[in-house]
């Protein structure tokens, strides 16, 4: 009988073998090859000794950090207010809906909005600020990247807050806590699991954004993703591209570890 159940999971294990383990091994194999196709540690050595790659990694981190923080700052209150809204499930769906519009199209819309003659600059002009460069700037890049990532931050936070039992909130109120105290000592700590998954869902993809760096930042922001894309599609130095891919996977594990669930004993109260 146990076998029946095990058999049902076979496609999943097959998937892990074929589409996770095999590709990772291919990447590892490639990263130990130099450009002539023979075994070497040259790629790893180049990566860790080149100032270009190290600065780039650092910059990617910085951008991903800023994007995650801004997305969190905007999403958290939104998620919190959403859980208290009427028809909250409908609002949530409406909020996720923009992700169904093709990301390239939204990017092209932003090009129009941020350009010299675009909507934002017309507004600036109107209130007397004059035309500001937005397209092809770091600021523009952060704005658009944050926009793209907000739904992925909002959803897990909303779920976490929504799952908090209302009776906890009422209990806190009955004990004389005001709204702020209730938020600080009940809701906020209990929503941390959502914040963690939100940070995971935003930070790691932000490290490797690549279409946006070209279309919105005009290649003046270079992230790990941009460089990897270059190595795979243009230079065809798949070895170096794979090496950076492995680095990203390792970073991912570190982020998961840092934001992952702690053991129960380690938590206060």
């Amino acid at each position: 009988m146990l076998k029946q159940r095990k058999a049902l999971s076979v496609p999943y294990y097959l998937w892990i073998a074929l589409f996770v383990i095999a590709p990772v091994f291919l990447l590892l194999y490639q990263s130990f090859q130099n450009i002539d196709g023979s075994f070497s540690l040259a790629n790893i050595q180049t990566y860790f000794t080149s100032t270009v790659y190290l600065t780039m990694t650092l910059q990617s981190f910085l951008y991903a950090f800023v994007i995650t923080v801004v997305a969190l700052l905007i999403s958290y209150p939104a998620a919190y207010f959403l859980t208290r809204a009427k028809n909250k499930q409908l609002w949530l769906l409406v909020l996720i809906l923009p992700t169904w519009i093709n990301i390239l199209l939204k990017t092209y819309a932003f090009i129009g909005i941020l350009s010299q003659t675009g909507a934002v600059n017309q507004f600036f002009e109107f209130i007397g600020l004059g035309t500001q460069p937005l397209l092809f700037t770091r600021l523009g890049f952060i704005i658009v990247a944050t926009y793209i990532e907000i739904p992925f931050m909002l959803l897990p936070i909303f779920n976490a807050i929504d799952e908090i039992d209302d009776s906890m909130v009422f209990a806190s109120r009955d004990l004389g806590a005001n709204e702020w105290d209730t938020f600080r000592s009940v809701i906020f700590p209990m929503s941390m699991s959502g914040v963690r998954s939100g940070v995971q869902a935003v930070f790691i993809p932000s490290l490797s954004l690549f279409m946006l760096t070209r279309l919105i930042a005009g290649n003046r922001v270079v992230t790990l993703g941009t460089a990897i894309e270059q190595h795979f599609l243009v230079t065809q130095n798949w070895g170096m591209g794979s090496t950076m891919g492995i680095v990203l996977i390792i970073i991912m594990f570190v982020v998961m570890f840092l934001t992952g669930k702690r053991r129960k004993g380690g938590q206060r109260g």
Binding site: Y12, F19, L26, W100, I101, A109, T117, G245
Partner: protein, 277 residues
Amino acid sequence: MIKNNKASTMYLLIVFILLYAPIAYLIYYSFNAGGTMNQFTGFTWEHYQSLASDTRLITIALDTLRVALLSALAATIIGTLGAIGIYYAKLRRTQTILLSLNNILLASPDVIIGASFLLLFTLVGFRLGFYSVLLSHIAFSIPIVVLMVLPRLEEMNTNMLTAARDLGASQLQVLKEIILPSITPGILAGFFMAFTYSIDDFAVTFFVTGNGFATLSVEIYSRARQGVSLEINALSTLLFLVAMGIVVGYYFIQKQQRQRKKTAQIDPTNHEKAVTP
């Protein structure tokens, strides 16, 4: 329940406006006679008319939907069963390893996924086209399904499982009668996310497509050489309206059902919810 005050409603409203601004922009310019997304010169239906006669674009839109639906369905089935597998894994360590493997694809940049899948297809001599795209979409959607389903499994009331088994239910019966019904919200969320991932993907498809098969993102990208044609704006306006209609319709059907259920009886499968007030 605590209600929102004016300030917080304002805040929500602003976030909604910001999230919909680019989409409103796209829709607004789909009626632009000027032909670019820059200066609005006059109202026209022209782009909708040319869309209606552009069979290539319509076929591609249909193909995109077909890939998204099929891949989301397959990924949901495989992912759900996988999540159950992880849930039942005896050792804590096995669980952690399985989950880490699961998350690799979720966290890898699209470019790497695309390139490594291309390598894989090359290695086995797989023909590029509809099936390579479908397989890849299934592959990169599975982990998100697992992540959506697993928390529901962990929340499941284990007493119910033991009780059912004590009463002589077979594994399959337990799965069908108890596990699946209680994780249905997670499964639906998984399907939803898988569908979104597939619709949204550009990089992976770009790598693994071939022989004339294209999805909307790839087609938009290749047409963008001339600057995006407003026909594509028209298409996304229509798709957006359809999606909006489905979402709102689905919500109201759900709401009606829920109300009917409330007056009938409490869902017997959801033990936990039935106990807590």
